[in-house]
Structure formats: structure tokens, C-alpha cells
């Protein structure tokens, strides 16, 4: 394999990987505060992209993206307040079914609003044929945007959870909800906040990836499956592990093309998910002891 080809595969892999990682982090944030998997996470990505595309008709693109992200965050908050907040100690299964319902609802709504056609945001820099040369490989500047923006988001999130009191309160809820409540933290608000955060980062990812992958009303479930695989692979609840796992899966997928027929690309993620669930259900980076204490 020539060095150029290697770099080319590597960048393709990092692009897939970082997108999966963002979806996985969305899963993790909500998992940490509620203990459930929000299967509507892929729909947040879709909503962000689609809303931004509509908004570009009325305002410049950076503003449109900002508005789209805000709208998606509001939608995230509304979903939590309407469907989750008022439930009295709901079972995990019940909440998961609710999120699946929400994802179907969101998709149908999007179908009615935007119709069935595939859309895309314009490229942030240049157009469909622009590329930059990196170590002999040629890469679309949008790929660098995706990698840059997503890395920045991951960094900001880690800082937020480590150093702000709000972030610490959210982590406290994740560690022990009852103890956190006893310390005066409003756990319900933390759950709402986690939906807002997840919706926000999903929407940002949906916007930066749109020029590359296109956006349509049913892009959510595919992303959710990959993101879920990555979240499990890294260990549920661990966001930095999700980044590592996302990059790992993305790079494996990209390089698999050189040895396996392309048709097997998606089978790889599913196979990894199954293997991990059998061998290390707590993930590559999680500890089995911590996992055994959790309900799900």
C-alpha cells in the first residue's frame, strides 16, 4: 500500500469515525443522566442538518447553522419535557420504547415538512470538487471541517463536565441520582439539560457532515446503529472512550475496503457489535465491576 493510499484511507476512516463518535457521545450524555439509550439520537442529527438547509434560504450559512442548532436543542428539551419528565420512576424498557416512538415520530414529521428528497448544505469552503493535498493524498476541505468541529466539541464537552459546576452536577446525577438529589441538585433539570446537550451536538454534527453525506429525513436510524455500536464498543457512558472507539470503527471500516469487497463494510460494524456484546459487554474501556452495578 502506497503512503498516499494509506493517508487517503486514514482520512476517510477518521471522518466516519468522528461522526460515529459524536452520535455515541449523544447516547452517552443521556445514558449518564437517565440510564437509557435514546434511540432518537440519529434524528437530532437529521433535524440539525435539515433545519440548517431550510434556514440558508433566509440568512447566511453560519447564522443558519446556529439557528438550526438552537431549534434542535429546543426540540430536544421539548421531547424530554413532554415525553419523559412527568413519568414516575419509569422502567428502562418503557423509556427505551418511548425513544423509539419519538424517533419514528420525528422521521414522519420530517417527511411531511421536507418531503422525500435528498438535500445538502453547500460546502463551507470551495465546492464539490475542491480538495487540499495532505502528504500526497487529496482531501475535501469539508473533511477537515468535520474533524475540526467535532474534535472541538469533544474538547469543550470534557472541559464542561470537568470544570463547570453545571457539568459536575450532571456527573453527580450520573454517578448516583439519589445522592445527587439529596445534595440539592435538581435531577429532573439535569435530564432536560442532557437532552438539550445531546440534541445540540447532534445538530452541529448534522450540519458539518451534510455537504459530504447529504441529509434526508431517514438518515437517523443508520447513524444511530453505528453510534450505538461505538457507544457499546467504548463502554456505555464513557465519552472519551467513545471517541477512541469511533475512530477505531471508522478506520477499520475504511481500511476493510482494501481487503474485503465494499459490500461488507456495514456488516463489519454489526459483527463488531455482536462480538463485543458476547465477549466484553462493558466495552473495550469499561470495567465489568462498574457495569454490573448498573441496571442496563
Amino acid at each position: 500500500m502506497s503512503p498516499e493510499l494509506f493517508i487517503q484511507y486514514l482520512f476517510a476512516g477518521i471522518t466516519y469515525g468522528i461522526i460515529y463518535a459524536i452520535v455515541a457521545i449523544g447516547f452517552n450524555i443521556i445514558y449518564n443522566t437517565t440510564g437509557i439509550i435514546n434511540f432518537a439520537q440519529g434524528e437530532f442529527v437529521m433535524l440539525g442538518g435539515m433545519t440548517a438547509i431550510t434556514m440558508t434560504a433566509f440568512m447566511p450559512m453560519p447564522l443558519a447553522i446556529a439557528v438550526a442548532v438552537l431549534i434542535t436543542m429546543v426540540v430536544g428539551a421539548l421531547i424530554e419535557m413532554v415525553f419523559i419528565r412527568w413519568l414516575q420512576s419509569p422502567s428502562v424498557l418503557r423509556m427505551i420504547i418511548i425513544t423509539i416512538g419519538i424517533s419514528i415520530l420525528a422521521r414522519e414529521a420530517a417527511l411531511h415538512i421536507w418531503g422525500e428528497s435528498v438535500r445538502a448544505l453547500p460546502y463551507f469552503i470551495g465546492n464539490e470538487v475542491t480538495s487540499v493535498s495532505i502528504l500526497g493524498a487529496r482531501i475535501s476541505p469539508q473533511v477537515l471541517w468535520v474533524i475540526g468541529v467535532c474534535s472541538l466539541m469533544v474538547a469543550c464537552l470534557s472541559l464542561f463536565f470537568k470544570f463547570t459546576s453545571l457539568g459536575r452536577e450532571m456527573r453527580a446525577c450520573a454517578a448516583n441520582r439519589r445522592a445527587a438529589t439529596l445534595c440539592g441538585i435538581n435531577a429532573k433539570n439535569m435530564v432536560t439539560l442532557s437532552f438539550v446537550l445531546s440534541a445540540g451536538i447532534g445538530a452541529v454534527a448534522g450540519c458539518v457532515m451534510s455537504p459530504i453525506t447529504y441529509s434526508d429525513y431517514e438518515m437517523g436510524p443508520g447513524l444511530a446503529i453505528k453510534g450505538f455500536t461505538v457507544a457499546i464498543l467504548g463502554g456505555l457512558g464513557n465519552s472519551l472512550a467513545a471517541v477512541a472507539a469511533g475512530l477505531l470503527l471508522g478506520i477499520i471500516e475504511a481500511f476493510s475496503v482494501s481487503v474485503l469487497p465494499l459490500a461488507f463494510q456495514d456488516a463489519i460494524a454489526t459483527s463488531i457489535l455482536l462480538v463485543i456484546l458476547f465477549i466484553r459487554p462493558h466495552g473495550l474501556f469499561g470495567s465489568s465491576e462498574a457495569a454490573s452495578l448498573k441496571e442496563f
Binding site: L5, A12, R119, R138, S140, T213, Y214, D216, L262, A263
Partner: protein, 387 residues
């Protein structure tokens, strides 16, 4: 309270009875029910959407003119979302419950192949809007199709390659019925034109990025051109990934590329794509004496006036042809299903959007290779390809 409730229930039931049954008795046998199974949503929505809109437009027009031989048309559209399982259940529903006269669609080849036997057993006329040749080869008595054959598309593409001196190619196909059928034809016909397929890859119909496989193919310096065969948005994604990687070999697409939305989605990367298609997309630049011109221009104007947000596409044209052929059959033979089938089988010289249809008991497609024109994309528009 109980009494109020029961009277409400009675009222509702009697309302339902009145509303549900009276139109049937009023309509008698004067309406012809035409079923349509189309992928209005989902990955093949660029096909099913225009097809459904075209049928609605045409039926409205036919009924406004008093119907066909005095019979009004009742159009029942089922949205399969390009899902073969749904297509099967809709086909059964249309045959057994709605008792339709004929079925138009499905939009995709995979769905059509799944219901081919079902309609054949039910002796139901099917006018498929899907392209794969296997739909009418071997011939099934009740199954017809309106898009051009994929073998003709392949011959047209290979012919153009020969003119350009291209002999070593890579083939990419989507994992749909259309993609699989196209792959088969590409591989089968290649030796006849002295073309060697150096690499062949299949991608998922929901693929969102093909840069890795482009990198792999690009590393093979012998490849002189790429043929992509699919009906999914990946047609645009592949073009973008190839051009971004700086790979500038000619890109050929199938006749599945005939919707200007694919060009819009591909943007600058779609420039120079070469593909075979019917003449609908270049209707205005045809010679005045072309037998299809009048019909093509009228359909284009009608469609784009009724649906100002949409541009005419070859797919809507396939539905246009399907209904036109069915109407021609009914006009000739009345409302007897068997007689209409026989009439369709013997239709000759019927101009449609895809070409001039000449059906026969051996040929349930009725189009020859001349129904294709090689087109290319220039400044975001379809134009006739000249070497």
C-alpha cells in the same frame, strides 16, 4: 348517559354506512380502478415521487375529459418506500381487496421481481416502471415494462467507450435489484465490445461516503473509466468523491441518473458525467420532425406547470408511458381484462416518453436501442453528448 352514548354510536355507525356504501352504488361499473405501487418515499423517492405526481396529473386530465370510453379512472396509489415486502402486501391488497383492473409500478426492479409471480398467478396486468431486463425476460404473460432495457443502456455506454478508446474499466453498483441486474449485464456484454472490467464493487444503497473505495480504485492506474449503476443518491456522492480525490477519468452512469436533482446534489462534481437516457430530458433541443418531440414537450410543460417546484424526469415519464399504454389498450378492447392484455401485446408504433413502443408476444418492453440517447451534464443541465 348510557342512552346518549348509544345514540351517538348508532349515529356514527349509520353515518359510516351512508358515507361508506353510497358512492359505490352511485358509481356502478363506470369507474376503472387502476392500482399503482410506487416508491413515493424512501431511497428511490426520486423515482416514485415524480411517478405518483405524473399519474395524478394524467388521471385528473383524463377524468376531466370524461374518462376513457366514458369510463372514469379511479387511481389508487400505494407508497411502498422501495421496500419489496411492502410491495408484495400492496400487490395482494390491490388484487384481492381493491380488485383493481391493472397495476402500474413498482418503481424499482427489486420490488417488481418480487411481485412478478403474484400478478402472473392472479392474471393481473402489470405495467412496471422499473428498468431491469429480467422483468420481461423471460416474458410473463401479464407483465410489461416501460423503461428502456438495461442491456441497451450497457450497449450504448460501451459503444461510447469504444469511440473514446476506453477498454479497461471499473464497475460500481448499488445493492438493489436495479444495481444487481445492471452488474450482470455489464459483465455479460463487456467481452462483445472488447472491454475488460478490472474491478467491480457493490455498495449499500444507503452509502453516504465512497471516498475509501475511490481511493482503492484510483490506485489502479490501468482503469480508464468508471461505470456506476444505481438509482440512489450515491450517484452524486461517487462523483464528488472521485473529483475531490483528483481522479478525472470519465464517469459513466446508468439511465438511473435521469433526474436533474441528482445533478443538483452532485453540484460541480456532476459536470461531464455521461449516461444513456430517453429523449425527455432534452426534449426542447430535438429536431422538429422527431416523432416523440410533440409529446415530450407537452408532458414537460404540463408537469412543470402543475408542479412548479419540480422538474420533469425520465422516471415520471415511465409512469406516463405505463398509463398511456394501458389507456391505449382499454380504448381498443374495452373493459375486458383479457382483451386489454391482448391489445397491449399487439400495440405498435405508440410514441411514449421513453421511445416508440412496438410490443409483441416475445417483447413486453417494445423499445429498441434507438430509444436511448447519450447525454452529459454541462453547466448543471442535461445536454446531448457529442464526443
Amino acid at each position: 348517559m348510557k342512552r346518549v352514548l348509544s345514540s351517538v354510536v348508532t349515529a356514527v355507525i349509520s353515518f359510516c354506512l351512508v358515507a361508506g356504501f353510497s358512492p359505490v352504488s352511485a358509481a356502478k361499473a363506470e369507474t376503472i380502478k387502476v392500482g399503482a405501487i410506487l416508491a413515493v418515499t424512501g431511497g428511490a423517492s426520486f423515482l416514485g415521487g415524480p411517478e405518483a405526481r405524473t399519474l395524478e396529473m394524467m388521471v385528473e386530465e383524463i377524468n376531466a375529459k370524461g374518462g376513457i370510453n366514458g369510463n372514469k379512472i379511479d387511481l389508487i396509489i400505494k407508497d411502498s418506500g422501495a421496500n419489496p415486502e411492502k410491495a408484495i402486501s400492496f400487490a395482494k391488497q390491490l388484487i384481492e381487496e381493491d380488485k383493481v383492473f391493472a397495476i402500474i409500478g413498482p418503481s424499482t426492479s427489486g420490488e417488481t421481481m418480487k411481485i412478478k409471480n403474484i400478478v402472473e398467478e392472479a392474471q393481473m396486468i402489470l405495467l412496471s416502471c422499473a428498468a431491469a431486463e429480467v422483468i420481461v425476460n423471460p416474458v410473463a404473460k401479464y407483465v410489461f415494462k416501460t423503461p428502456q432495457k438495461d442491456s441497451h443502456a450497457v450497449e450504448k455506454i460501451y459503444g461510447t467507450m469504444k469511440d473514446l478508446g476506453i477498454s479497461k474499466i471499473a464497475v460500481l453498483t448499488g445493492n438493489t435489484g436495479f444495481g444487481n441486474a445492471g452488474k450482470g449485464q455489464l459483465e455479460k456484454i463487456a467481452p462483445d465490445f472488447g472491454i475488460e472490467i478490472l474491478a467491480s464493487e457493490v455498495y449499500d444503497k444507503k452509502a453516504t461516503d465512497l471516498s475509501a473505495v475511490v481511493a482503492k480504485l484510483m490506485a489502479n492506474k490501468d482503469i480508464q473509466a468508471v461505470v456506476n449503476w444505481s438509482i440512489v443518491p450515491a450517484q452524486g456522492i461517487l462523483a464528488k468523491n472521485m473529483r475531490q480525490a483528483g481522479w478525472d477519468v470519465p464517469l459513466f452512469q446508468s439511465h438511473g441518473f435521469g433526474n436533474i436533482k441528482y445533478v443538483e446534489a452532485g453540484g460541480a462534481a456532476a459536470e461531464g458525467i455521461i449516461f444513456p437516457a430517453g429523449r425527455l430530458l432534452v426534449a426542447n433541443s430535438l429536431a422538429e420532425d422527431n416523432p416523440q418531440k410533440q409529446l415530450l414537450v407537452r408532458y414537460k410543460i404540463d408537469y412543470e406547470t402543475k408542479y412548479p417546484d419540480d422538474k420533469v424526469s425520465t422516471f415520471g415519464g415511465h409512469a406516463y408511458d405505463a398509463l398511456t399504454i394501458l389507456m391505449a389498450g382499454i380504448e381498443k378492447a374495452g373493459t375486458d381484462k383479457e382483451k386489454v392484455r391482448d391489445a397491449i401485446e399487439n400495440l405498435k408504433g405508440v410514441p411514449g416518453t421513453a421511445g416508440i413502443f412496438n410490443f409483441s408476444p416475445e417483447d413486453h418492453n417494445g423499445l429498441d436501442i434507438n430509444s436511448f440517447e447519450m447525454l452529459t451534464v454541462k453547466d448543471g443541465k442535461f445536454v446531448i453528448y457529442h464526443k
